[in-house]
C-alpha cells in the first residue's frame, strides 16, 4: 500500500513537471565531446572554437554535448534533426556497425552526416566505404612529432650557443649521455603514432649531427593525473634526460611543471600550451580540431558536403597539425645565439618540405604501421 501511494505521488509529480517541458527544435550542428570535456584547453575546445568561428561568420548555431553515453547522444541528436554531428570520442561501434542486432546509427539516419576523428572505422574489409554519411578525420601527427624530435636534438646539441648558461641546467650531454624521453597515456596506436614519429625525428637529427641518443618511453601514465606526470618525468630527468615529450592529456601539465622546476625542457601536445610554463616548453605538437570542424561545416553550409571524401587526412600543410611558432622558446635565445637559432628553424623547414614531397616517410602507427627499429641508426630505444 505504502509503495503504491508512493508511486502514484511520484508519477503525478513527474507528469506535472513533464507537461511544462518543451524540446528545443533549432536545427544546427552538434559536437559530441570526448571524455575530457569541452573545456579541456585542447582537443575538444579547439573543435568548439571552430564552431564558434562558423557562428560568427555564417550565423549557424552549434550545440556542444558533454556525455558519457556517446551512441545515445548521437542517436538523440540525429533523431531531433541535427544534420551535421561531430563526434570527438573514440567510440564507433554503434555508429558504423550497429550492435546487438540493431541497425547502425549511420544507416538509421541517412540525412545526418557524422564526422569521427583519429581513425577510419568506416571501411569494409575490401576497402570500400561503409556509409556515405560518415566522414573520418585523421591528423598526420606522426609528421609533426618527427619535426619535434629533430628540433629537440638540434636545440640540445646547440644549447650552449643558443642559451645563456644560467637559463637551463641540462644534464651534460657528454657525461650523462644524450637522452630524450616520451610519456604516453596508454599503449595504443593512437599514442605510439606520436612516439614513432618523434623517435624517427630524433634519429634523423642525430644522424645529421653524427651523435647517438637514448630514447626512454613510458606508455602507462594515463590521462588524468598531473602528479603522475611529475613523478615519471622526474625519474627521467634525474637519469639525464633533457627533453620529455608527453602525449597524455593533463599528465603533460605535471611534466611541464617538473621541467620548469628542474630547468629542463618539455614538449606538450594538442593545443598551443607553450605559454603555460614559458621557456620550459620547447614546443607543442598541435592537433587542431578547429580546422576540420570549420572546413567541414563550411562545406555543409555551402551544401557541398557530399563532395568531401569520406576519409580526410590533415597533414602539415593544412595547418591542422604541426608545431607551434616557437615564439616562447625563442624569447630564451640570446642575441648571440640568434644565428644558430635561425639555422635550426631553416633545418626544420627543410625537413617539413622533405616530408611534404615524399623524400622522408614517417612511420604512421595510426594506419597500422609498426616501427622498424633497425632504421634507428643513431638512437637506442631503452
Amino acid at each position: 500500500m505504502k509503495r503504491f501511494l508512493l508511486l502514484t505521488v511520484l508519477s503525478v509529480f513527474a507528469i506535472s513537471l513533464a507537461a511544462c517541458s518543451k524540446t528545443d527544435d533549432a536545427k544546427s550542428i552538434a559536437i559530441v565531446t570526448s571524455a575530457a570535456g569541452q573545456n579541456d584547453n585542447g582537443y575538444n575546445e579547439s573543435a568548439v572554437d571552430g564552431a564558434k568561428k562558423i557562428k560568427d561568420e555564417f550565423g549557424v548555431d552549434y550545440h556542444v554535448v558533454d556525455t558519457t553515453d556517446v551512441p545515445g547522444a548521437l542517436e538523440q541528436l540525429a533523431e531531433s534533426g541535427y544534420e551535421l554531428i561531430f563526434s570527438l570520442e573514440y567510440n564507433f561501434d554503434a555508429l558504423v556497425n550497429g550492435v546487438g542486432g540493431a541497425k547502425s546509427i549511420a544507416e538509421k539516419y541517412p540525412d545526418t552526416t557524422f564526422v569521427v576523428f583519429n581513425d577510419n572505422p568506416n571501411l569494409n574489409e575490401d576497402g570500400t566505404v561503409k556509409h556515405e554519411n560518415v566522414i573520418s578525420v585523421v591528423f598526420d601527427v606522426h609528421e609533426s612529432s618527427y619535426l619535434a624530435g629533430a628540433l629537440s636534438v638540434s636545440v640540445l646539441e646547440n644549447a650552449s650557443t643558443l642559451f645563456d648558461a644560467s637559463t637551463y641546467s641540462f644534464a651534460d650531454l657528454d657525461v650523462d649521455g644524450r637522452s630524450i624521453g616520451f610519456i604516453g597515456g596508454v599503449q595504443s596506436n593512437g599514442i605510439t603514432v606520436f612516439s614513432y614519429g618523434f623517435v624517427e625525428g630524433i634519429n634523423r637529427a642525430a644522424a645529421d649531427l653524427n651523435v647517438n641518443y637514448d630514447y626512454y618511453t613510458d606508455y602507462s601514465a594515463g590521462f588524468g593525473d598531473p602528479v603522475s606526470g611529475s613523478t615519471i618525468s622526474n625519474t627521467m630527468y634525474q637519469n639525464g634526460v633533457n627533453v620529455v615529450y608527453s602525449v597524455a592529456g593533463v599528465v603533460g601539465d605535471g611534466v611541464a611543471s617538473k621541467a620548469n622546476e628542474l630547468d629542463r625542457l618539455a614538449i606538450q601536445v594538442d593545443a598551443n600550451k607553450d605559454a603555460d610554463q614559458p621557456g620550459s616548453i620547447l614546443t607543442s605538437v598541435l592537433k587542431n580540431t578547429e580546422v576540420p570542424v570549420y572546413q567541414i561545416t563550411k562545406a555543409f553550409i555551402d551544401e557541398k558536403i557530399g563532395d568531401l571524401d569520406n576519409a580526410l587526412s590533415y597533414d602539415l600543410d593544412s595547418g591542422a597539425t604541426g608545431m607551434t611558432d616557437l615564439a616562447e622558446i625563442e624569447k630564451m635565445v640570446t642575441a648571440s645565439g640568434m644565428t644558430k637559432w635561425n639555422e635550426i628553424k631553416t633545418y626544420i623547414e627543410t625537413l617539413a618540405t622533405e616530408i611534404a614531397d615524399g623524400t622522408v616517410t614517417v612511420t604512421d602507427a595510426q594506419s597500422g604501421e609498426t616501427l622498424d627499429t633497425t632504421t634507428l641508426t643513431n638512437v637506442t630505444v631503452k
Partner: protein, 360 residues
C-alpha cells in the same frame, strides 16, 4: 498512516530539496529549471524508449547492488564488487570475441558461465582469507580492486589488444555472443535474466535458512557461532554468491551494452560503486534496491538527455545528482539509531577536544 506519511516525506523531501537547490543554481546561470527537469523526467521515465533505456541501465546495477547487500547484511564488507565485476566482464568478453559462429544460446551461456566463475574465483581470495585466517576482508577486497583493474589493463594493452584500434580496447565480441536488442530500444534479454536472478535473491533473502543465517551473522557473529552455526563456511558462501552476482553483472554489461572492453568499461565511478550506493539507498532490501536502481538509472539517462537537449553544463547536472544522493543518505542515517549514536560520539569528541584546546 502516520508512518506512511513520514515515509513519503522521507523519500520526497530530499529529492525536492535537491531539485530546489539545483533550480536556484540553474536560475543563477540563466537556465529554465522547469524545462530542464521536464527533460530529465520525460526522457528517462515517461518516454517509452527512454524508460526501457533506464531499465537497461539499471540491470547490471541491480546485480551489483544485490552483491553488496548480501554481504553487508551479514556485516561482511565485500568492497571488491567492482573488481569482481570487471574481471567477470573482461573474461566474458574474451569468450565473446574468441569464438565465432557458435550457436548464440551456447555462446551466450558459455560467456556468462565464464564471467560468473571468474567473479566467484576472485571473490574466493578474500573469502578464504577471512574465513580461515580472520584477515580483514574490507582491506583485502578494497585493495584487490586496484589489482583487478591493473590486471585487465595489462591484458587489454597486451595479449588481448585489438590491433586495429587506436585506443586501448579488446576486439568487439562476435555477433553470436551479443544479447539482441528488443522493441527497437536498448533493452535486451539480459534484463529478463536480471529479473529472474532478482526473484531468486528475494526468495533467498526472505524465505530461506541462508537468508536467516545471513541476518543472524549480521546481528551478532559470536552468538551465531555459539548457537552452532559454521560461520566460516557461511562467509565463504556469502562471498561466492556476491562474486557470482558481480561476475554476472560484468558479463551482462559486456554483452548487452559495451560489446568490447575499454578502460571506460565500468564508467565513472563504476558499476560496483554505484551498486554500493544503490544498496545503501535501498537499505539492503531487495525491493528497496530495485526502486533505488531504477531511480538512479533514471538520473543517469535523464541527465544524458539534458546534455543533448539543453545547454546546461554537465557539471550542474552532476551537482544535482549528488545532492539528491546526499540528501537521501542523510535520511538513511537519521533512521539508523546506531549511526546517529556514532555521529554523536564523534561530534562530542571533537567538541571536547576543542574545549581542551581552549583551556590550554
Amino acid at each position: 498512516m502516520k508512518k506512511t506519511i513520514s515515509n513519503i516525506l522521507n523519500v520526497f523531501m530530499p529529492i525536492l530539496l535537491a531539485f530546489l537547490i539545483g533550480a536556484i543554481i540553474m536560475i543563477a546561470i540563466g537556465e529554465n529549471p522547469i524545462e530542464v527537469y521536464g527533460i530529465l523526467i520525460e526522457k528517462s521515465l515517461l518516454d517509452q524508449k527512454g524508460l526501457l533505456k533506464t531499465i537497461h541501465t539499471a540491470s547490471p546495477l541491480i546485480l551489483t547492488a544485490l552483491a553488496i547487500a548480501i554481504s553487508f547484511k551479514a556485516n561482511i564488507f565485500n568492497m571488491g564488487v567492482e573488481g569482481q565485476m570487471l574481471l567477470g566482464g573482461f573474461f566474458a568478453g574474451v569468450i565473446g570475441f574468441t569464438f565465432e559462429g557458435l550457436n548464440p544460446v551456447i555462446h551466450i551461456t558459455l560467456s556468462i558461465i565464464v564471467g560468473v566463475t571468474v567473479g566467484i574465483l576472485f571473490a574466493l581470495i578474500p573469502a578464504i582469507l577471512k574465513a580461515k585466517f580472520k584477515v580483514n576482508e574490507l582491506v583485502v577486497t578494497l585493495m584487490l580492486n586496484y589489482a583487478a583493474l591493473e590486471f585487465v589493463r595489462f591484458l587489454a594493452e597486451g595479449p588481448f589488444r585489438d590491433h586495429s584500434s587506436g585506443y586501448v580496447s579488446t576486439p568487439m565480441i562476435s555477433e553470436s555472443s551479443m544479447f539482441k536488442r528488443l522493441f527497437e530500444s536498448e533493452i535486451t534479454l539480459f534484463t529478463i535474466i536480471v529479473l529472474i536472478v532478482f526473484v531468486i535473491m528475494y526468495f533467498v533473502f526472505k524465505k530461506t535458512k541462508l537468508g536467516y543465517e545471513i541476518e543472524a551473522i549480521g546481528k551478532n557473529r559470536d552468538f551465531s557461532e555459539a548457537t552452532g552455526m559454521n560461520v566460516g563456511k557461511k562467509i565463504i558462501i556469502i562471498f561466492i554468491i556476491s562474486g557470482a552476482l558481480s561476475g554476472l553483472a560484468g558479463a551482462g554489461h559486456m554483452m548487452s551494452d559495451q560489446m568490447r572492453f575499454t578502460m571506460s568499461f565500468s564508467g565513472n565511478p563504476g558499476l560496483g560503486w554505484d551498486g554500493m550506493l544503490i544498496s545503501l539507498l535501498g537499505m539492503h532490501s531487495p525491493l528497496g534496491i530495485i526502486v533505488a536502481a531504477v531511480f538512479y538509472s533514471a538520473l543517469i539517462t535523464g541527465s544524458e538527455s539534458i546534455a543533448v537537449f539543453t545547454s546546461v553544463p554537465r557539471e550542474i547536472i552532476l551537482i544535482i545528482q549528488s545532492l539528491i544522493i546526499l540528501f537521501l543518505s542523510i535520511k538513511m542515517i537519521s533512521k539508523n539509531a546506531k549511526a546517529v549514536a556514532i555521529l554523536e560520539k564523534i561530534t562530542n569528541k571533537i567538541l571536547r577536544k576543542d574545549n581542551k584546546g581552549v583551556k590550554k
